[in-house]
Amino acid sequence: MTDMLLEIDDLAIGFDVSAPWLTRLLTGTGRRLLKAVDGVSFSIARGQTFALVGESGCGKSTLARLVVGLYRPSAGHISIDGTNLARLKSRAELAPVRRRVQMIFQDPYASLNPRWRVRDIVAEPIRTHRLLRDETRIRARVDELLGQVSLAPEDGEKYPHEFSGGQRQRISIARALASEPEFLVLDEPTSALDVSVQAQILNLMKDLQRRLGLTYLFISHNLAVIYHVSDRVGVMYLGRLVELAETAELFARPRHPYTRMLLDTVPDIDMTGRVRQPVIGEVPNPIDPPSGCAFHPRCPFADDRCRGERPELRADGASLASCHAVEEGRLPDFAR
């Protein structure tokens, strides 16, 4: 059996999006619950990169926040290296896990305190977790961390506004590495960056993973980026996993019609002139998801069963997919 660092089992979280009490009383409407993540299970092996892909509102960022403990799940379990997070109640119990799990956000302009010097930003986790107490050693460690992300020790004396977007994301990475984590949750880490800078950051993430043996949960809407960075991929649609597979398998033989649609939206940069299915419709409102399979209004293969019965994730060859059409074997082969 492989060594699983992160295990997620039947995870769910709902947000109360009801109207205020008085409005509900006057209009006779009930409470409304937005199921942002619903019944999601997967695991990530140590040293691997697991990617979550989906469009806005699919719940991928909510899932990232659940994993790092920024939200509490309403159902299901998250365990990191065998420790069930739900069992840890006090801050003191959570602190060791928090040290081992760090997060990097999309917007490097919003995630760094503009009034702190870079040196203090990077040193903060060291001080919080009391990893080093001696200021000279903290200083040496910060220099080493800046070096790991290809910044100079002098950069530590500057403020975030003196850096470009790509350099700021390097500072975020240095800060994340400061607590010596094993597991990084990367929520769209390159989406705000220019492509030439994106390539620098993706290469850096790969180098760090190899050097430090890190495990990544990588969240992105960009399938081409995911193809490059990940070992396994989960595709999310309206809060649920619709497909789960090794990266090579997912891109070679996508099962779920939604995965196929996403692949067909990737611009054809090689200009092969490949014929693609036109995209139908838009992501529905997650407050009021469609019955049965949530993708059925946009699916060219939907039938009565899809409209009435919600499909579960089932094995299909080397992949898992939640689709009646896949299960019944009535999907055509995907051409690319």
Binding site: D194, A199, L202, N222, A224, D268, D270, P278, V279, E282
Partner: protein, 325 residues
């Protein structure tokens, strides 16, 4: 010989600041033919949006044009008074911006906004304008257009709002559409739909499009020709297939190599070290020289102009060097 639909020659735009006047656009020249899609691609700070703003006469002060000309169907438009420019904008040049919400008035129904735009530019009665508005909404793929025309912008999704903005831009049947990052704020599946829509409209109406984007994939899908911008200059321009498949300028080569693509070999992506220079810190000679892997003395001294290079034109001294050797 008929002049091109749009011709920009030696356009320069400056940004005066307290620390001196910076060059935002430096001697930019290109043309767009009727019915053609010209992609303008570059990373943030390359000057692509400033070029678009200059064409539609909406340069945000303190930015100001310091040289060059912009001609629409042979007629110079960059020196026109505001009132005359306003008549051209909307009537002969339509504009689409990144965020559809900033282009729509939240207080009016989309029908009101469409009818007003149509009647500003075309001599139509209220009824005829309304019929045309519904027709435009249908054409841009809004379902149940005759009912949705009474809705307000907030009642539409992001993709549907961008369709409304496209309908507005097309209201007076302009010859040229300037689209600045029209799909950047949208989800990937919506982006694919909007790209398909723009392509179809361009084909059906013979409308030319200047498509400004940072996404080379969108350009490869849509454009006939592409201009690559870097630090306020066009560094390479040519037919899209040539630029995408066989780029000549070292910046374009680096840019293409840094784009992850499905099916390409895994492993490290080609990266361009460093970042685009800030305004006011643009190096002398070729602006790309500090990041270029093939830099030599001449690149640091003199600025290269666009030179013919295969099927494209590239602003790089390597072209001359190969010829000299």
């Amino acid at each position: 010989m008929t002049p091109p639909l749009l011709e920009i020659s030696h356009l320069s735009v400056a940004l005066p600041t307290r620390r001196g006047t910076f060059t935002a656009l430096d001697d930019v020249s290109f043309a767009i033919e009727a019915g053609e899609v010209l992609g303008v691609v570059g990373e943030s700070g390359a000057g692509k949006s400033i070029t678009a703003a200059a064409i539609i006469g909406l340069l945000e002060p303190p930015l100001r044009q310091t040289g060059g000309e912009i001609r629409l169907e042979g007629e110079r438009i960059d020196n026109l008074p505001n009132e005359a420019l306003r008549r051209i904008r909307g009537k002969r040049i339509g504009a689409i911006f990144q965020d559809p919400l900033t282009s729509l008035n939240p207080l009016y129904t989309i029908g009101r906004q469409l009818i007003e735009t149509i009647r500003t530019h075309l001599p139509l009665s209220e009824r005829a304008a309304r019929a045309r508005a519904i027709e435009l909404l249908q054409e841009t793929g809004i379902p149940a257009a005759s009912e949705r025309i009474a809705a307000y912008p907030h009642q539409f999704s992001g993709g549907m709002r961008q369709r409304v903005v496209i309908a507005l831009a097309l209201a007076a049947n302009p010859r040229l559409l300037v689209a600045d990052e029209p799909t950047t704020a949208l989800d990937v599946s919506t982006q694919a739909q909007i790209i398909a829509l723009l392509k179809r409209l361009c084909r059906d109406h013979g409308t030319a499009i200047m498509l400004v984007t940072h996404d080379m994939g969108v350009i490869a899908e849509t454009a006939d020709r592409v201009a690559v911008m870097y630090a306020g200059r066009v560094v390479e321009i040519g037919p899209v297939r040539d630029v995408v498949k066989a780029p000549r300028h070292p910046y374009t080569i680096g840019l293409m190599g840094s784009i992850p693509a499905i099916g390409h070999p895994l492993g490290r992506l080609r990266q361009i070290d460093g970042a685009m220079p800030r305004l006011g810190a643009i190096p002398p000679g070729c602006a790309f020289n500090p990041r270029c892997t093939q830099v030599f003395d001449r690149c640091r001294e003199a600025r290269p102009d666009l030179l013919p290079s295969g099927a494209t034109r590239s602003a790089c001294w390597l072209e001359g060097k190969i010829a000299d050797d």
